[in-house]
Symmetry: C2
Subunit: 129 residues, 2 copies
């Protein structure tokens, strides 16, 4: 039975993909895929997503060079979420952090703190706009 | 500045929460929270979610006993996804696996395989329905 038959894309034809660094176990980001970007991810071995804000197909790292090489694609019991193991080049976050989850809650929600170093500035990654 | 001010709930008032086992780094599940379930999670230290299919507030483990004790709550650069570190009692998945992501793609999407042992059967967890 095909893997695709197990999946449930949402009303917009999308499925969330959690991206995890295979070496460290760090969760790097979550982004959305449609059927075409998932096929492209499997065919090329590099993660491709669908941007909901830009309504655009994109390859992770296409402008930054921070690509993700796919090592494993898992899916959950309900078939409505993907968990993809990758090797991440550079920072996964467009703000220059290894992981997009670089801030954590403090004081029971009253505040938050930054929990990891910024590896690069967005200006260095993408150049001056 | 409050942590809540950083978050963007979707059109249905929901935000996805990735649940990760703090000890092993295993991603256990993804589920959805509304503002009330997030507040309850922070107040009690146990994960609470909003079920989209049942339209119901629930505490993880309320019928199975497989509760999750919260160790850290992180949020991503866009403020539209949570990453929660927990201590998981028993199986996170209602199908009796430690993680809901117990199947992975094989043969470039043509098939899939089970990647971890089933710890318990659903019948043992929930009793005969």
């Amino acid at each position: 039975m095909s893997f695709y038959d197990q999946l449930k894309f949402d009303a917009n034809g999308l499925i969330p993909a959690i991206i995890q660094d295979q070496g460290t176990g760090r969760v790097l980001m979550m982004a959305w895929m449609n059927h075409a970007s998932l096929e492209k991810t499997i065919a090329t071995g590099k993660t491709h997503f669908w941007s909901r804000s830009r309504q655009k197909f994109w390859m992770k790292g296409e402008s930054s060079g921070h690509t993700q090489t796919v090592k494993d694609i898992a899916f959950d019991c309900d078939g409505d979420t993907l968990l993809i193991q990758v090797e991440q080049i550079g920072a996964a976050c467009h703000e220059g952090y290894k992981s997009c989850f670089f801030r954590s809650v403090e004081d029971r929600g009253a505040g938050f703190k930054t929990t990891e170093p910024q590896l690069e500035t967005p200006e260095r990654i993408y150049g001056k706009k």
